[in-house]
């Protein structure tokens, strides 16, 4: 009892980060991460529950108390190995998971105070492992990052379409189960949304590259520049000798608002804005060839993580004024708390309960403003959130030279159109069995955003885990 009280007195350890005024001038990652001592202190806050709620809240069921216990003891290798039993992308998840809705939400300490900073600890041990690899690479005899053990080769071949979080999970799981895995990626580098969508200041691309590199060391093959549905079809993959195909292509279709003026120069989909900046490194233009409009006065529509990413990117591109315009209220904003907090700290303004009606352009077809309308909250809708209702006569105009539409993404039909025997729902998403990810086409699985609609990295990874088990069963036992 005495010991427990003592533990509760240690406050949740803050993670040092770049000051807002400094970081909006650069693209470096915002938090610096824990030092080993801080991590051990934070880990010591965990009371090692017998029935850990945190583990139940994790979509990939990491043994969280066990990895935290190793961290507390300073056995960081033990901690990372424990995580990697369940999650091959810990450095990514430690950064982008909505922990407050998952593991940390269920932490017993959260009932009375602040939960253990599970995400920060996961991030710390993952970064520690990578830094060990980097340190030893300088030695004469580099000791490789410890590779997970692979089951004996089965001789079966799996094609994974899409190299985002779910594809990487499926690939990582199946390679360890002894299958040959090839990942097909449409872009020139692997990583999917981790590379084109999430900005450098939130998830450094070197980390994604290191995680992909780890997969390569395990034996996963990556074929970039391959659009499945155009360069090669799913049926042709079977003809080439693949025994199973996993479709994890994400929600790669921009959703526009279908309001007048949306084709003006300066109006971007979030997909385009972030792809130019992240994948193509337009923030380094003209050293990198891809341009991006560096607006002074930027309006971002939507309030999810993607909207926060776009708003914070606009600041770093040099905007004087950046606004998030959202039709509901603060409570309904779907972004991670940390992203909203970081955006506010950096000076992003929030225009809540407002919706755009028309974009306004000049005679050259360039955006100069947006006409909006104020909203109020009415009765809850299907999603359980209170429905925004327009207030008559409340129209107002706002100047802006750049607008980013970040109200979600839909199902990209390129692959599904070319694969006739896969059934889709009416919104174009692939119909897959919830437990296994099996589609209506034999030997084909699907998971992640192309099944669920736009969700989070970790949910896509959770889906990937289930699919990998199902594919493994199929390859060893049958459909």
């Amino acid at each position: 009892m005495e010991e427990k009280e003592k533990k509760e007195k240690i406050p949740r350890q803050p993670m040092p980060e770049q000051a807002p005024k400094v970081r909006i001038k650069n693209y470096r990652e915002v938090p610096f991460g824990y030092l080993p001592e801080t991590a051990m202190v934070e880990a010591s806050r965990c009371i090692q529950c017998k029935n850990p709620g945190c583990k139940a809240g994790c979509p990939v069921e990491i043994d969280i108390p066990a990895f935290i216990n190793s961290t507390r003891e300073g056995d960081f290798q033990g901690a990372i190995s424990k995580i990697k039993e369940k999650n091959l992308l810990p450095a990514v998840c430690g950064r982008v998971c909505p922990q407050e809705l998952q593991c940390e939400k269920n932490c017993i300490l959260a009932k009375k105070g602040e939960p253990v900073a599970i995400g920060r600890l996961e991030r710390f041990v993952a970064d520690w492992e990578r830094s060990q690899g980097e340190a030893s690479a300088k030695d004469a005899e580099p000791s490789e990052m410890k590779l997970a053990e692979k089951a004996p080769a089965t001789g079966k071949r799996v094609a994974v379409v899409g190299s985002g979080p779910s594809g990487l999970t499926v690939a990582g799981d199946l390679i360890l189960k002894g299958h040959d895995v090839t990942v097909f990626e449409a872009f020139q580098v692997p990583g999917g949304v981790l590379v084109y969508g999430i900005p450098e200041f939130r998830l450094p691309k070197a980390i994604v590259a290191a995680e992909v590199d780890y997969m390569k060391k395990l034996g996963v093959e990556f074929e970039c520049d391959t659009v499945v549905g155009a360069t090669v079809t799913v049926d042709e993959l079977f003809e080439q000798g693949y025994d199973a195909v996993y479709i994890g292509v994400g929600a790669g279709l921009p959703v526009f608002m279908n309001i007048p003026g949306e084709n003006l120069i300066g109006v971007y989909s979030a997909n385009e804005y972030l792809t130019r900046s992240n994948l193509m490194k337009a923030y380094l233009f003209p050293e990198y060839d891809t341009p991006i409009i560096k607006g002074n006065n930027v309006a971002v529509f939507g309030a999810g993580n993607v909207a926060m990413d776009a708003a914070r990117t606009a600041l770093r591109l040099g905007a004087d004024k950046v606004r998030i315009i959202y039709r509901r209220s603060r409570q309904e904003m779907p972004a991670r708390i940390e992203e909203i907090h970081h955006a506010e700290e950096e000076g992003v303004e929030f225009f809540l309960l407002a919706t755009p009606l028309t974009f306004i352009g000049d005679s050259d077809g360039r955006l100069i403003g947006v006409r909006c309308q104020r909203m109020e909250l009415g009765e809850p809708d299907e999603s359980g959130r209170r429905r925004p209702v327009p207030i008559k006569g409340s129209e107002f105009e706002e100047e802006c030279d750049t607008a980013v539409v970040a109200i979600g993404a839909g199902a990209n039909p390129l692959l599904t159109k070319a694969t006739h025997d896969i059934q889709l729902n009416k919104r174009g998403y692939i119909i897959a069995e919830p437990e296994t990810g099996k589609t209506t086409k034999k030997g084909v699985w699907a998971g992640g955003d192309i099944v669920t609609g736009q969700a989070t990295v970790i949910l896509a990874m959770g889906a990937g885990r289930q699919v990998a088990n199902s594919i493994h069963n199929y390859l060893t036992l049958g459909w």
Binding site: Q188, I265, M280, F285
Partner: protein, 290 residues
């Protein structure tokens, strides 16, 4: 692996000043390419992704032919690549292929790089049993190319020269109008080339009541319908040129929006070209002093 073996340039030619042909090793694309399709090319790790039309392919040899015009930094730099060099990334074939059918008389019109891009379309239209009349235009006679290639796949080849060296002076829309005025019937016009030519041609054929398809060259990033950069208004609906096109009904295209959006990055393009030229001069002067 794929990156060191693929996308090797097998042949490089300057067809006419500023218009170049490259034959690139890309077996997966060569196996599938159809008339009217394009690839997205990134010349090096820092390069931008640009769409280039596939002008021809060798399915067995695994190579594709691309004809491009020097307009911006990327195409200027690509023009300096030679046989043996490698392109960083090349993906395709993308876009919906040209709809090939038996129409009757098909007039294929092309200008600039579109002359080459038109070739596989004219060939396929001819193979489908159409009477194919190809009309190609250039500002001056020395800028015309592939007359023989096009003549081989056409029933008739008409060349038009803008500078008057080739009387009577007629641009493509005038040629189409002239054909109709002299009693010819045209069932379909296919246009490939600069946006103004396609716009003017569409306006002419609209008044003549001739079905016209155009091949739009919007600015693109991914080329797979993911970003919406290439959006264009067709018949009042927003379409993505990369996946819904690039072939559209020329009478339905909102040309003003297309032309405006093509100028989205005009300032950046100038800046980029200046930087590139400065870099080139600096390198040249360093070589000289060394």
């Amino acid at each position: 692996m794929w990156r060191c073996t693929l996308y090797k340039i097998l042949e490089k030619q300057e067809l006419v000043p500023n218009i170049h042909l490259i034959e690139v090793l890309a077996p997966a694309v060569a196996k599938k390419a159809q008339p009217g399709q394009f690839v997205i090319v990134t010349i090096d790790e820092k390069g931008e992704r640009i769409p280039l039309t596939v002008a021809d392919w060798d399915r067995e040899g695994g190579s594709i032919t691309i004809v491009f015009m020097e307009v911006g930094t990327t195409t200027q730099r690509l023009a300096l690549f030679n046989a043996g060099d490698h392109i960083y990334s090349l993906v395709g074939p993308l876009g919906i292929p040209t709809h090939i059918d038996t129409y009757g008389t098909v007039v294929c019109v092309g200008g600039c790089y579109g002359i080459a891009a038109m070739m596989p379309i004219a060939r396929a239209m001819k193979e489908a049993g159409n009477k194919v009349i190809s009309v190609i235009e250039a500002r001056s006679k020395y800028l015309l190319f592939w007359e023989e290639e096009l003549a081989r796949v056409s029933d008739q080849l008409i060349t038009t020269i803008g500078d008057g060296s080739h009387a009577p002076e007629r641009w493509i829309p005038d040629q189409v109008k002239h054909m109709v005025d002299s009693g010819g019937t045209i069932d379909l016009v296919v246009a490939f080339g600069c946006t103004y030519m396609m716009k003017l041609t569409s306006e002419t054929t609209k008044s003549l009541g001739i079905k016209t398809v155009v091949h739009l060259n919007s600015v693109m990033v991914d080329g797979t319908g993911m970003c919406g950069c290439c959006r264009v208004l067709v018949g009042g609906e927003t379409k993505f040129a990369c996946v819904d096109g690039p072939e559209f009904d020329g009478h339905q295209v909102d040309w003003d929006i297309l032309l405006a959006r093509q100028r989205s990055y005009q300032e950046e393009e100038i800046r980029s070209l200046q930087d590139w030229e400065t870099w080139r001069w600096r390198r040249a002067s360093q070589k000289n002093s060394a």
